[in-house]
Protein backbone atom coordinates (compact mmCIF):
# COMPACT_ATOMS: atom_id res chain seq x y z
CA UNK A 1 0.00 0.00 0.00
CA UNK A 2 1.35 3.37 -0.98
CA UNK A 3 1.75 6.22 1.50
CA UNK A 4 -0.92 8.32 -0.18
CA UNK A 5 -3.70 6.72 -2.16
CA UNK A 6 -6.10 8.99 -3.93
CA UNK A 7 -8.91 7.35 -5.81
CA UNK A 8 -11.59 8.54 -8.12
CA UNK A 9 -12.10 12.07 -6.80
CA UNK A 10 -15.13 13.66 -8.41
CA UNK A 11 -16.31 17.22 -8.04
CA UNK A 12 -18.96 19.27 -9.80
CA UNK A 13 -19.88 22.91 -9.51
CA UNK A 14 -23.56 22.96 -10.28
CA UNK A 15 -23.90 21.37 -13.68
CA UNK A 16 -20.22 21.46 -14.59
CA UNK A 17 -18.36 18.32 -13.75
CA UNK A 18 -14.86 19.54 -13.08
CA UNK A 19 -13.22 16.41 -11.67
CA UNK A 20 -14.43 13.18 -13.23
CA UNK A 21 -12.43 10.70 -11.23
CA UNK A 22 -8.92 11.81 -10.32
CA UNK A 23 -6.56 9.47 -8.56
CA UNK A 24 -2.95 8.51 -8.16
CA UNK A 25 -0.65 7.13 -5.51
CA UNK A 26 2.61 8.35 -4.10
CA UNK A 27 5.17 7.38 -1.51
CA UNK A 28 6.42 9.37 1.45
CA UNK A 29 9.23 11.68 0.49
CA UNK A 30 8.24 11.69 -3.14
CA UNK A 31 7.54 14.68 -5.32
CA UNK A 32 4.60 14.47 -7.69
CA UNK A 33 4.03 17.18 -10.26
CA UNK A 34 0.63 17.69 -11.78
CA UNK A 35 0.61 19.05 -15.30
CA UNK A 36 -2.34 19.90 -17.48
CA UNK A 37 -3.81 22.64 -19.56
CA UNK A 38 -5.80 25.49 -18.12
CA UNK A 39 -9.20 24.41 -16.88
CA UNK A 40 -8.29 20.74 -16.56
CA UNK A 41 -9.13 20.83 -12.85
CA UNK A 42 -5.70 20.97 -11.19
CA UNK A 43 -6.56 23.72 -8.73
CA UNK A 44 -9.92 22.16 -7.93
CA UNK A 45 -8.18 18.86 -7.22
CA UNK A 46 -5.68 20.46 -4.82
CA UNK A 47 -8.48 22.34 -3.08
CA UNK A 48 -10.37 19.11 -2.56
CA UNK A 49 -7.27 17.44 -1.21
CA UNK A 50 -6.62 20.28 1.25
CA UNK A 51 -10.22 20.41 2.36
CA UNK A 52 -10.99 23.87 0.98
CA UNK A 53 -13.53 22.22 -1.27
CA UNK A 54 -15.53 19.13 -0.43
CA UNK A 55 -15.30 16.48 -3.14
CA UNK A 56 -18.53 14.79 -4.20
CA UNK A 57 -16.93 11.37 -4.16
CA UNK A 58 -13.77 9.35 -4.16
CA UNK A 59 -11.38 8.52 -1.38
CA UNK A 60 -8.08 9.61 0.11
CA UNK A 61 -6.11 7.31 2.38
CA UNK A 62 -2.81 8.37 3.89
CA UNK A 63 -0.56 5.97 5.74
CA UNK A 64 -3.46 3.56 6.06
CA UNK A 65 -5.65 6.22 7.65
CA UNK A 66 -8.82 7.44 5.98
CA UNK A 67 -8.64 11.14 5.18
CA UNK A 68 -11.67 11.39 2.90
CA UNK A 69 -14.57 10.83 3.10
CA UNK A 70 -15.05 11.09 6.85
CA UNK A 71 -18.06 10.33 8.97
CA UNK A 72 -19.57 13.24 10.84
CA UNK A 73 -17.33 14.11 13.77
CA UNK A 74 -14.53 11.87 12.54
CA UNK A 75 -11.12 13.44 12.14
CA UNK A 76 -7.80 12.51 10.64
CA UNK A 77 -4.25 13.30 11.59
CA UNK A 78 -2.82 14.01 8.16
CA UNK A 79 -1.52 17.55 7.85
CA UNK A 80 -1.61 18.97 4.37
CA UNK A 81 -0.12 22.38 3.65
CA UNK A 82 -0.98 24.49 0.63
CA UNK A 83 0.99 27.26 -1.03
CA UNK A 84 -1.17 29.44 -3.25
CA UNK A 85 -0.37 30.99 -6.57
CA UNK A 86 -1.00 34.47 -5.15
CA UNK A 87 0.87 34.02 -1.82
CA UNK A 88 -1.96 35.24 0.44
CA UNK A 89 0.26 36.44 3.24
CA UNK A 90 -1.56 38.21 6.06
CA UNK A 91 -0.90 41.88 5.30
CA UNK A 92 -1.17 43.15 8.87
CA UNK A 93 1.52 40.85 10.19
CA UNK A 94 5.22 41.06 9.58
CA UNK A 95 7.14 38.16 8.09
CA UNK A 96 7.90 36.52 11.41
CA UNK A 97 4.33 36.91 12.66
CA UNK A 98 2.97 35.41 9.44
CA UNK A 99 4.99 32.28 10.15
CA UNK A 100 4.31 32.06 13.89
CA UNK A 101 0.60 32.93 13.89
CA UNK A 102 -0.81 29.46 13.27
CA UNK A 103 1.81 27.84 15.54
CA UNK A 104 0.95 30.16 18.39
CA UNK A 105 -2.77 29.60 18.02
CA UNK A 106 -2.15 25.86 18.07
CA UNK A 107 0.07 26.14 21.16
CA UNK A 108 -2.64 28.12 22.94
CA UNK A 109 -5.21 25.47 22.11
CA UNK A 110 -2.95 22.66 23.23
CA UNK A 111 -2.15 24.33 26.54
CA UNK A 112 -5.84 24.89 27.14
CA UNK A 113 -6.67 21.30 26.30
CA UNK A 114 -3.89 19.79 28.41
CA UNK A 115 -4.97 21.87 31.40
CA UNK A 116 -1.33 21.85 32.46
CA UNK A 117 -0.85 25.10 34.37
CA UNK A 118 2.91 24.75 34.38
CA UNK A 119 3.07 24.96 30.63
CA UNK A 120 3.55 28.58 29.87
CA UNK A 121 2.44 30.11 26.61
CA UNK A 122 5.42 32.45 26.61
CA UNK A 123 7.77 29.47 26.51
CA UNK A 124 5.89 27.90 23.65
CA UNK A 125 5.90 31.23 21.90
CA UNK A 126 9.67 31.48 22.15
CA UNK A 127 9.98 27.98 20.75
CA UNK A 128 7.67 28.82 17.88
CA UNK A 129 9.61 31.95 17.16
CA UNK A 130 12.87 30.04 17.07
CA UNK A 131 11.32 27.54 14.70
CA UNK A 132 9.97 30.30 12.49
CA UNK A 133 13.41 31.88 12.33
CA UNK A 134 14.94 28.56 11.30
CA UNK A 135 12.41 28.24 8.53
CA UNK A 136 12.94 31.81 7.39
CA UNK A 137 16.67 31.21 7.34
CA UNK A 138 16.04 28.20 5.16
CA UNK A 139 14.09 30.25 2.63
CA UNK A 140 16.71 32.99 2.76
CA UNK A 141 14.66 35.69 4.45
CA UNK A 142 16.11 35.92 7.91
CA UNK A 143 17.01 39.57 7.33
CA UNK A 144 13.40 40.42 6.46
CA UNK A 145 11.62 39.09 9.53
CA UNK A 146 10.43 42.54 10.63
CA UNK A 147 9.20 43.57 7.19
CA UNK A 148 5.57 43.60 6.16
CA UNK A 149 4.33 41.72 3.09
CA UNK A 150 3.76 44.96 1.18
CA UNK A 151 7.49 45.66 1.50
CA UNK A 152 8.54 42.40 -0.18
CA UNK A 153 8.89 41.32 -3.78
CA UNK A 154 6.62 38.58 -5.09
CA UNK A 155 9.39 36.02 -4.87
CA UNK A 156 10.11 36.96 -1.27
CA UNK A 157 6.41 36.84 -0.40
CA UNK A 158 6.10 33.40 -1.89
CA UNK A 159 9.10 32.20 0.11
CA UNK A 160 7.49 33.52 3.28
CA UNK A 161 4.31 31.67 2.29
CA UNK A 162 6.35 28.47 1.99
CA UNK A 163 7.91 29.01 5.42
CA UNK A 164 4.45 29.70 6.82
CA UNK A 165 3.12 26.46 5.35
CA UNK A 166 6.11 24.54 6.72
CA UNK A 167 5.63 25.92 10.22
CA UNK A 168 2.99 23.35 11.11
CA UNK A 169 5.22 20.49 9.88
CA UNK A 170 2.84 19.28 7.19
CA UNK A 171 3.05 15.65 6.12
CA UNK A 172 2.37 16.71 2.57
CA UNK A 173 2.96 20.13 1.09
CA UNK A 174 0.97 21.15 -1.97
CA UNK A 175 1.81 23.97 -4.34
CA UNK A 176 -0.62 25.51 -6.81
CA UNK A 177 1.46 27.14 -9.53
CA UNK A 178 3.76 28.76 -7.00
CA UNK A 179 5.62 30.82 -9.59
CA UNK A 180 2.85 31.77 -11.99
CA UNK A 181 2.28 35.16 -10.41
CA UNK A 182 5.96 36.03 -10.43
CA UNK A 183 8.22 37.94 -12.79
CA UNK A 184 10.37 35.42 -14.65
CA UNK A 185 13.40 36.84 -12.88
CA UNK A 186 11.95 35.87 -9.50
CA UNK A 187 10.82 32.32 -10.24
CA UNK A 188 14.20 30.72 -9.64
CA UNK A 189 14.52 31.81 -6.03
CA UNK A 190 11.19 30.09 -5.30
CA UNK A 191 11.97 26.98 -7.33
CA UNK A 192 15.29 26.70 -5.52
CA UNK A 193 13.50 26.60 -2.17
CA UNK A 194 11.22 23.83 -3.44
CA UNK A 195 14.25 21.88 -4.72
CA UNK A 196 15.87 22.22 -1.32
CA UNK A 197 12.74 20.80 0.28
CA UNK A 198 12.88 17.90 -2.11
CA UNK A 199 16.42 17.20 -1.00
CA UNK A 200 15.15 17.06 2.58
CA UNK A 201 12.61 14.48 1.40
CA UNK A 202 9.56 16.60 1.93
CA UNK A 203 6.49 14.92 0.41
CA UNK A 204 5.17 17.37 -2.16
CA UNK A 205 2.46 17.69 -4.78
CA UNK A 206 3.20 20.49 -7.19
CA UNK A 207 0.88 21.92 -9.81
CA UNK A 208 3.11 23.80 -12.21
CA UNK A 209 3.59 25.06 -15.72
CA UNK A 210 7.39 25.06 -15.31
CA UNK A 211 8.21 22.05 -17.46
CA UNK A 212 11.97 22.02 -16.90
CA UNK A 213 11.48 22.27 -13.19
CA UNK A 214 8.88 19.50 -13.14
CA UNK A 215 11.21 17.29 -15.12
CA UNK A 216 14.09 17.83 -12.73
CA UNK A 217 12.37 17.81 -9.38
CA UNK A 218 9.65 15.15 -9.73
CA UNK A 219 9.63 11.46 -9.00
CA UNK A 220 6.35 11.18 -10.79
CA UNK A 221 4.35 13.25 -13.23
CA UNK A 222 0.57 13.24 -13.27
CA UNK A 223 -0.88 14.64 -16.47
CA UNK A 224 -4.47 15.82 -16.16
CA UNK A 225 -6.89 16.65 -18.94
CA UNK A 226 -10.58 17.48 -18.70
CA UNK A 227 -10.95 16.38 -15.11
CA UNK A 228 -9.26 13.00 -15.39
CA UNK A 229 -5.73 11.73 -15.01
CA UNK A 230 -4.76 11.08 -18.58
CA UNK A 231 -1.34 9.63 -17.94
CA UNK A 232 1.11 9.15 -15.12
CA UNK A 233 4.75 8.14 -15.18
CA UNK A 234 8.28 9.12 -14.39
CA UNK A 235 9.47 12.40 -15.88
CA UNK A 236 11.41 10.38 -18.43
CA UNK A 237 8.31 8.43 -19.45
CA UNK A 238 6.08 11.48 -19.69
CA UNK A 239 8.47 13.88 -21.34
CA UNK A 240 10.36 11.50 -23.62
CA UNK A 241 7.93 8.67 -24.29
CA UNK A 242 4.39 9.93 -23.74
CA UNK A 243 1.82 7.26 -24.55
CA UNK A 244 -1.28 9.39 -25.04
CA UNK A 245 -2.01 11.82 -27.82
CA UNK A 246 -3.33 14.41 -25.39
CA UNK A 247 -0.07 14.31 -23.43
CA UNK A 248 1.96 14.74 -26.61
CA UNK A 249 -0.23 17.63 -27.72
CA UNK A 250 0.06 19.33 -24.36
CA UNK A 251 3.83 18.93 -24.24
CA UNK A 252 4.37 20.20 -27.75
CA UNK A 253 2.18 23.22 -27.05
CA UNK A 254 3.97 24.04 -23.79
CA UNK A 255 7.49 23.96 -25.17
Amino acid sequence: MAYLEIENIVKSFGETEVLKGVGFTMEKGEVVSILGSSGSGKTTFLRCLCGLERADGGSVVADGERVFPLEKGETHSLKIGLVFQDFRLFPQYNVLENVTLAMNLLSKQEIKKSGDKKRKFTEEKDKNEARAKDLLKKVGLIDKIKNYPCELSGGQQQRVAIARALALSPDILCFDEPTSALDPALTNEVLKVISDLRNERMTMIIVTHEMEFAKNVSDKIVFMADGVVEETGTPDEIFNRPKKDKTREFLSSSL
Binding site: R88, L89, P91, Q92, L101, A102, L105, C150
Partner: protein, 230 residues
Protein backbone atom coordinates in the same frame (compact mmCIF):
# COMPACT_ATOMS: atom_id res chain seq x y z
CA UNK B 1 -28.09 87.13 29.90
CA UNK B 2 -24.41 87.83 29.90
CA UNK B 3 -21.63 85.92 28.22
CA UNK B 4 -20.80 83.88 31.31
CA UNK B 5 -24.39 82.72 31.80
CA UNK B 6 -24.73 81.75 28.15
CA UNK B 7 -21.39 79.95 28.30
CA UNK B 8 -22.53 77.97 31.33
CA UNK B 9 -25.79 77.02 29.64
CA UNK B 10 -24.11 76.02 26.42
CA UNK B 11 -21.53 74.00 28.35
CA UNK B 12 -24.29 72.17 30.15
CA UNK B 13 -25.99 71.46 26.81
CA UNK B 14 -22.69 70.40 25.33
CA UNK B 15 -22.29 67.96 28.23
CA UNK B 16 -25.57 66.34 27.27
CA UNK B 17 -24.58 66.25 23.59
CA UNK B 18 -21.25 64.72 24.51
CA UNK B 19 -22.84 61.99 26.60
CA UNK B 20 -25.35 61.27 23.86
CA UNK B 21 -22.54 61.10 21.34
CA UNK B 22 -20.33 58.84 23.45
CA UNK B 23 -23.17 56.59 24.53
CA UNK B 24 -24.43 56.21 20.98
CA UNK B 25 -20.97 55.36 19.74
CA UNK B 26 -20.19 52.84 22.47
CA UNK B 27 -23.50 51.05 21.98
CA UNK B 28 -23.96 51.25 18.23
CA UNK B 29 -20.49 50.08 17.27
CA UNK B 30 -21.03 46.59 18.73
CA UNK B 31 -24.76 46.56 17.90
CA UNK B 32 -23.87 47.43 14.32
CA UNK B 33 -21.63 44.38 14.15
CA UNK B 34 -24.52 42.27 15.38
CA UNK B 35 -26.83 43.79 12.73
CA UNK B 36 -24.11 43.10 10.18
CA UNK B 37 -23.73 39.44 11.09
CA UNK B 38 -27.50 39.14 11.16
CA UNK B 39 -27.85 40.64 7.69
CA UNK B 40 -25.18 38.27 6.39
CA UNK B 41 -26.63 35.22 8.12
CA UNK B 42 -27.01 31.98 6.20
CA UNK B 43 -30.36 31.48 7.94
CA UNK B 44 -32.69 33.16 5.50
CA UNK B 45 -35.37 34.46 7.94
CA UNK B 46 -32.70 35.94 10.20
CA UNK B 47 -31.05 37.59 7.23
CA UNK B 48 -34.28 39.14 6.01
CA UNK B 49 -35.28 40.22 9.50
CA UNK B 50 -32.08 42.21 9.89
CA UNK B 51 -32.17 43.49 6.33
CA UNK B 52 -35.69 44.75 7.01
CA UNK B 53 -34.67 46.52 10.23
CA UNK B 54 -31.71 48.12 8.50
CA UNK B 55 -33.91 49.21 5.62
CA UNK B 56 -36.40 50.89 7.97
CA UNK B 57 -33.72 52.56 10.08
CA UNK B 58 -31.86 53.93 7.11
CA UNK B 59 -34.96 54.68 5.11
CA UNK B 60 -36.78 56.96 7.54
CA UNK B 61 -35.66 60.23 9.10
CA UNK B 62 -33.83 59.96 12.41
CA UNK B 63 -36.12 62.72 13.69
CA UNK B 64 -39.13 60.52 13.03
CA UNK B 65 -37.46 57.61 14.79
CA UNK B 66 -36.75 59.73 17.85
CA UNK B 67 -40.38 60.75 18.14
CA UNK B 68 -41.55 57.19 17.52
CA UNK B 69 -39.19 55.67 20.08
CA UNK B 70 -40.25 58.19 22.70
CA UNK B 71 -44.02 57.95 22.25
CA UNK B 72 -44.92 54.65 20.59
CA UNK B 73 -43.94 52.14 23.31
CA UNK B 74 -46.14 53.97 25.82
CA UNK B 75 -49.04 54.16 23.38
CA UNK B 76 -48.79 50.48 22.51
CA UNK B 77 -48.71 49.37 26.14
CA UNK B 78 -51.36 51.78 27.36
CA UNK B 79 -48.78 53.67 29.32
CA UNK B 80 -47.33 50.62 31.04
CA UNK B 81 -43.98 51.29 29.43
CA UNK B 82 -42.24 54.51 30.29
CA UNK B 83 -38.74 55.68 29.55
CA UNK B 84 -37.22 55.95 33.02
CA UNK B 85 -36.41 59.03 34.99
CA UNK B 86 -33.47 58.01 37.14
CA UNK B 87 -33.21 59.67 40.48
CA UNK B 88 -29.53 59.63 41.15
CA UNK B 89 -29.60 62.69 43.35
CA UNK B 90 -27.06 64.37 41.10
CA UNK B 91 -29.05 67.37 40.04
CA UNK B 92 -27.45 68.12 36.68
CA UNK B 93 -27.64 64.49 35.67
CA UNK B 94 -31.26 64.03 36.71
CA UNK B 95 -32.29 67.25 34.97
CA UNK B 96 -30.60 66.47 31.67
CA UNK B 97 -30.46 62.66 31.51
CA UNK B 98 -34.22 62.28 31.94
CA UNK B 99 -36.61 59.92 30.20
CA UNK B 100 -36.33 61.91 27.00
CA UNK B 101 -32.62 61.43 26.94
CA UNK B 102 -32.84 57.62 27.27
CA UNK B 103 -35.38 57.41 24.46
CA UNK B 104 -33.13 59.51 22.26
CA UNK B 105 -30.10 57.43 23.15
CA UNK B 106 -32.01 54.33 22.15
CA UNK B 107 -33.13 55.83 18.85
CA UNK B 108 -29.63 57.07 18.02
CA UNK B 109 -28.12 53.73 18.91
CA UNK B 110 -30.30 51.63 16.62
CA UNK B 111 -30.16 54.21 13.85
CA UNK B 112 -26.38 54.41 13.87
CA UNK B 113 -26.06 50.65 14.30
CA UNK B 114 -27.92 50.31 11.00
CA UNK B 115 -25.49 52.64 9.25
CA UNK B 116 -22.47 51.05 10.88
CA UNK B 117 -23.68 47.58 9.98
CA UNK B 118 -23.60 48.47 6.31
CA UNK B 119 -20.09 49.84 6.67
CA UNK B 120 -18.99 46.67 8.47
CA UNK B 121 -20.58 44.59 5.76
CA UNK B 122 -18.75 46.45 3.02
CA UNK B 123 -15.51 46.06 4.95
CA UNK B 124 -15.96 42.36 5.59
CA UNK B 125 -16.96 41.64 2.02
CA UNK B 126 -13.99 43.52 0.66
CA UNK B 127 -11.49 41.15 2.30
CA UNK B 128 -10.63 38.60 -0.36
CA UNK B 129 -11.88 35.03 0.08
CA UNK B 130 -8.25 33.96 -0.23
CA UNK B 131 -7.42 35.40 3.18
CA UNK B 132 -9.95 33.09 4.82
CA UNK B 133 -8.64 30.13 2.86
CA UNK B 134 -5.07 30.90 3.79
CA UNK B 135 -6.16 30.73 7.42
CA UNK B 136 -8.13 27.52 6.99
CA UNK B 137 -5.26 25.63 5.35
CA UNK B 138 -3.13 26.65 8.32
CA UNK B 139 -5.55 24.79 10.55
CA UNK B 140 -7.36 27.82 11.98
CA UNK B 141 -11.05 27.63 12.75
CA UNK B 142 -13.63 30.19 11.68
CA UNK B 143 -13.39 32.29 14.83
CA UNK B 144 -9.62 32.38 14.72
CA UNK B 145 -9.64 33.33 11.06
CA UNK B 146 -12.13 36.10 11.67
CA UNK B 147 -10.42 37.66 14.66
CA UNK B 148 -6.78 36.99 13.84
CA UNK B 149 -6.77 37.40 10.09
CA UNK B 150 -9.80 39.27 8.84
CA UNK B 151 -10.75 41.76 11.54
CA UNK B 152 -7.84 44.19 11.38
CA UNK B 153 -8.09 44.28 7.60
CA UNK B 154 -11.76 45.16 8.02
CA UNK B 155 -10.92 47.88 10.53
CA UNK B 156 -8.37 49.41 8.22
CA UNK B 157 -10.88 49.53 5.40
CA UNK B 158 -13.73 50.96 7.46
CA UNK B 159 -11.92 53.70 9.36
CA UNK B 160 -12.49 56.34 6.66
CA UNK B 161 -16.24 55.70 6.15
CA UNK B 162 -16.71 55.27 9.91
CA UNK B 163 -14.99 58.60 10.51
CA UNK B 164 -17.53 60.22 8.24
CA UNK B 165 -20.46 58.74 10.12
CA UNK B 166 -18.95 59.60 13.48
CA UNK B 167 -18.57 63.23 12.47
CA UNK B 168 -22.14 63.25 11.19
CA UNK B 169 -23.23 61.86 14.56
CA UNK B 170 -21.74 64.87 16.34
CA UNK B 171 -24.06 67.19 14.46
CA UNK B 172 -27.00 64.77 14.50
CA UNK B 173 -27.09 64.95 18.29
CA UNK B 174 -28.86 68.29 17.80
CA UNK B 175 -31.90 66.34 16.56
CA UNK B 176 -32.49 65.28 20.16
CA UNK B 177 -33.96 68.74 20.63
CA UNK B 178 -37.11 67.62 18.81
CA UNK B 179 -38.44 65.97 21.96
CA UNK B 180 -36.88 68.49 24.28
CA UNK B 181 -33.58 66.93 25.27
CA UNK B 182 -31.50 69.73 26.69
CA UNK B 183 -28.51 69.37 24.42
CA UNK B 184 -26.30 72.06 22.92
CA UNK B 185 -28.65 73.38 20.21
CA UNK B 186 -31.52 73.32 22.69
CA UNK B 187 -29.53 75.60 24.96
CA UNK B 188 -28.58 77.91 22.09
CA UNK B 189 -32.17 78.03 20.88
CA UNK B 190 -33.41 78.82 24.35
CA UNK B 191 -31.25 81.92 24.22
CA UNK B 192 -32.55 82.79 20.75
CA UNK B 193 -36.10 82.59 22.06
CA UNK B 194 -35.08 85.33 24.47
CA UNK B 195 -33.91 87.47 21.55
CA UNK B 196 -30.24 86.59 21.32
CA UNK B 197 -28.94 85.30 18.01
CA UNK B 198 -25.19 85.08 18.70
CA UNK B 199 -25.37 82.06 21.02
CA UNK B 200 -26.15 79.77 18.07
CA UNK B 201 -22.87 80.78 16.47
CA UNK B 202 -21.16 80.29 19.78
CA UNK B 203 -22.70 76.79 19.86
CA UNK B 204 -21.44 76.27 16.30
CA UNK B 205 -17.94 76.88 17.61
CA UNK B 206 -18.41 74.05 20.14
CA UNK B 207 -19.34 71.66 17.36
CA UNK B 208 -16.46 72.83 15.22
CA UNK B 209 -13.89 72.39 17.94
CA UNK B 210 -15.19 68.97 18.85
CA UNK B 211 -15.28 67.82 15.22
CA UNK B 212 -11.76 69.17 14.88
CA UNK B 213 -10.56 67.05 17.78
CA UNK B 214 -12.31 63.98 16.38
CA UNK B 215 -10.87 64.53 12.92
CA UNK B 216 -7.44 64.66 14.46
CA UNK B 217 -7.92 61.49 16.52
CA UNK B 218 -9.47 59.53 13.66
CA UNK B 219 -6.73 60.71 11.33
CA UNK B 220 -4.19 59.37 13.80
CA UNK B 221 -5.95 56.03 13.85
CA UNK B 222 -5.95 55.92 10.07
CA UNK B 223 -2.26 56.71 10.06
CA UNK B 224 -1.56 54.09 12.68
CA UNK B 225 -3.04 51.47 10.38
CA UNK B 226 -1.11 52.67 7.36
CA UNK B 227 1.84 50.38 8.10
CA UNK B 228 0.21 47.67 6.02
CA UNK B 229 -1.64 47.61 2.74
CA UNK B 230 -4.82 45.70 2.00
Amino acid sequence: MDFATITAELLSGFGTSLILFTGTLLLSLPLGLLFCFGSMSKIVPVKWFFKFIIWVLRGTPLMLQIVAVFYVPGLLTNGAFRWPDLNTGWQWFDANMDKRFWAVLFAFTINYAAYFSEIYRGGIQSVPRGQYEAGYVLGMNKTQVFFKVIWLQVVKRIVPPMSNEIITLVKDTSLAKVIGVTELMFAADAARAKGLIWPIFYAGAFYLVFVGVLTFVLGRLEKKLSYFKV
